[in-house]
Symmetry: C2
Subunit: 153 residues, 2 copies
């Protein structure tokens, strides 16, 4: 078989963290799921902060950098949610129990972030800082909404 | 000013980790940079593992899931490299000193991963598992190349 070479085996060796079944991402250990969602949030926040620095006037507005960041945010906004599965409410996490007891509200909060992030990516492409400011604020509101309702202080 | 509302201020509050200057991402603390690049690698590996499970036949091939994962990998492959700045060679990291002493070779390793990830994304769109297998192997080779040369055991 053509793919049975060293690189392929290395690829499998890397595959410790995730087992995929029928289109839904699953993690072999709850710790991996928690680490995954925190990683996605951390990258998202770092990119969001880049745009924040421009919106705030701390650094000069650079339309390309802003658009690149917003594109990453749009991708990242969709990732963490599969990692809030059963058994991931304990451990190194600030996730509140409401995530699992009020799934509908949590889903709504996810959808809001995904939607705002998509608008942020669109606004970043206009090259106008004023456009970006408005949507940045709305996206920050989506972050805040979820933190206030579903993340422990 | 229209953006001086609570959401906007929250956005700024989030902006602890990153200060952007002239298009280059900078981190206020080396720990943040290290956490950022590790986060990006972790998300990338998790998505890569999803494809690996399909390539290996552990789970049924799902063209959409594979394409979604490959699209994320393509984005993630470009992110970690700005976070290998000065002062980030110490701390919670397996980064080897060669990253800083042989920058040209490290850059080459980055470019190889970015290039292979881009090919993986393209191959994932054909909907043919055989196409994906070949490029998966090549992408794993790019991971391995960098790990062997620049990451401590």
């Amino acid at each position: 078989m053509q793919f049975r070479n060293k690189n392929f085996l290395f690829g499998l060796f890397l595959s410790f963290a995730v087992v995929m079944t029928a289109g839904a991402q699953q993690f072999s250990k709850p710790e991996d799921a928690i680490k995954y969602r925190k990683s996605a949030f951390f990258v998202m926040n770092a990119q969001f902060s880049q745009i924040g620095s421009m919106v705030q006037g701390k650094v000069p507005y650079d339309a390309k950098v802003a658009a690149d960041s917003a594109a990453v945010i749009e991708v990242m906004s969709k990732l963490p949610w599969t990692a809030f599965g059963e058994g991931t409410d304990k451990g190194e996490t600030k996730a509140r129990s409401e995530i699992w007891t009020d799934g509908a509200k949590f889903k709504e909060a996810q959808d809001r972030l995904i939607s705002e992030s998509s608008k942020l990516a669109a606004a970043s492409k206009t090259g106008k800082l004023e456009d970006l400011k408005v949507v940045f604020s709305a996206t920050a509101g989506a972050c805040k909404n979820c933190h206030e309702n579903f993340r422990a202080k």
